[in-house]
């Protein structure tokens, strides 16, 4: 699975960090760091983070798209 966060939408509400702290981290209350390719077994948590986002900035895409992107 591949995660894409629309950082123009993200306003730092940090709800994803509570839902999936291993994959989303807010540094300095503003800058979001996230794991773009978490393992499939983490799907439930990632979906929880996606659902909790107040501005709906997180999308989950299939992994094969990520592979296509690689050089």
């Amino acid at each position: 699975m591949r995660i894409v966060v629309d950082l123009n939408r993200c306003q730092g509400y940090a709800q994803c960090c509570y839902a999936a702290p291993e994959h989303f981290e807010l540094r300095g209350h503003e800058i979001l760091f996230y794991d773009p390719a978490p393992p499939e077994r983490e799907r439930a948590r990632i979906e929880r983070a996606q659902q909790a986002c107040p501005v709906r900035a997180i999308s989950i895409e299939p992994a094969d798209l990520a592979e296509q992107d690689e050089p």
């Binding site: 509400y13 709800q15 960090c17 509570y18 839902a19 702290p21 209350h29 439930a44 979906e47 929880r48 659902q51 909790a52 107040p54 501005v55 709906r56």
Partner: protein
């Protein structure tokens, strides 16, 4: 119906069970001036704009006023000082930047991911314990049996409030929460009752904080009460008391509605109840949809500090502004089939926890509590059915939710 008096219809208890047709009328006049001079904003786009507008102030509570006692020292010296102190140290939900930001940061720094996620196990065992107590009965009173005691136990735990003290502040919490209701805050008796409850709960909180300083434990109050130093100053005592009270009241009066509204909605949509039972992973999207469809807080009020032009209307300086979140949550311009309960809807950008600077601090905790409560109720209650629909509602129009929710059951699994 004229839009100028529509908000008094929203406040009318007879419309509590189903205010949504009124909200639909409101959206036809997205910024509606009321005959009392306030403005009601009801569409998604306008509320989103205003939530980020620094000209809208949250410092909209009328100044604190204690009733006349006949004792001249109290009436002319002590109470005016108390009134000024209380007015100047409102909890941060009623404050603007920069004070709001400073106070909120103190809380956010202690409301850590670890602290919130550590509550998980405790919530699970509490939910199981509360449901187990219903064994042998043919009906569950959801509010009394679970939706109220669960968030109360969780917030007391988190703050470090001794469980045996809890019954004292049930009444105070309910009274203070009426500060969110426009009718109570503008009525003289209502304001006096709010101040009286505030004085009593402050005295309690002051004692508790002193105790926490003497014997600090690993709870939020102990951490917040930690004295600061030159580089990182601590929170002042009066702000600390106000903050403690805010967290306690919020823990008593909001999540109860989320849990009850969620179960009510599931019982009205039995196919969704079955789906959740079969697949507990549906819970997060289901709860987000409840937050849109039947939110625990229907509106919040603000005050315009200078004139604001929005949607071809000018809101004058000083005017009260009501952000009708629950109406925006059903705005057809933002949500397809807004009156349909559909946990699978994409892009569910609701105002169930508000938005902007004042976004609910407790949201992650509320989500954990609601998710565990719902999944466990669906798994353990056999053949749950509503006893009456609609259920009786609490009096609040802003903090809206059932006063009780009777559910017939055929035993506990």
């Amino acid at each position: 119906m004229r839009s100028e008096t529509l908000f008094s219809e929203v406040m009318d208890p007879k419309n509590r069970a189903n205010p949504y047709p009124l909200y639909e009328l409101f959206r036809q006049t997205p910024v509606a001036k009321q005959s009392d001079g306030s403005f009601v904003v009801s569409t998604h786009e306008n509320i989103r704009t205003l939530l980020f507008d620094p000209r809208l102030s949250s410092e909209d509570l009328p100044p604190s006023r204690r009733p006349h006692t006949g004792n001249p020292i109290k009436d002319w010296i002590l109470n005016p000082i108390k009134n000024r102190v209380v007015t100047a140290h409102r909890p941060f939900i009623f404050r603007d930047p920069p004070d709001h930001d400073t106070l909120r940061k103190f809380v956010m720094d202690e409301f850590t991911i670890q602290r919130v996620n550590d509550a998980h196990g405790r919530v699970e065992s509490l939910v199981d314990e509360f449901i187990e107590r219903c064994r042998g009965r043919s009906e569950v009173c959801l509010v009394e049996d679970l939706s109220y005691p669960l968030p109360v136990a969780v917030i007391c735990d988190l703050l470090g409030v001794p469980e045996e003290d809890e019954p004292h502040f049930q009444r105070w919490a309910t009274q203070l929460a009426t500060a969110l209701e426009p009718d109570a805050r503008h009525d003289e008796t209502g304001r006096h009752a709010i101040v009286a409850a505030f004085d009593e709960i402050s005295a309690y909180m002051r004692k508790l904080i002193r105790e926490k300083r003497r014997r600090p434990a690993d709870d939020m109050l102990s951490r917040l009460a930690k004295p600061g130093n030159k580089r990182t100053p601590g929170m002042g005592d009066i702000d600390l008391i106000a903050t403690g009270i805010l967290l306690l009241v919020a823990g008593h009066e909001t999540t109860v509605n989320l849990i009850t509204n969620a179960m009510l909605t599931l019982l009205r949509n039995p196919d969704e109840l079955e789906k959740l039972k079969a697949d507990p992973e549906r819970a997060p999207r289901l709860i987000e949809e409840v937050l849109r469809y039947e939110p625990p807080v229907h509106f919040r009020t603000r005050k315009a500090t200078s004139p604001i032009d929005i949607d071809r209307v000018t809101i004058p300086a000083g005017a009260p502004v009501i952000l009708l979140f629950a109406a925006a949550n059903r705005d057809p311009a933002r949500f397809a089939n807004p009156d349909r309960f559909d946990p699978d809807r994409a892009d569910n950008q609701h105002f169930g926890f508000g938005g902007g600077l004042h976004y609910c601090v407790g949201a992650p905790l509320a989500r954990i509590e609601a998710e565990i409560a719902l999944v466990t109720l669906c798994r353990r209650l056999r053949e749950p059915r509503l006893m009456s629909d609609p259920p009786p509602y609490r009096s609040g129009a802003s903090l809206r939710g059932p006063a009780s929710l009777g559910i017939h059951i055929n035993g506990i699994s």
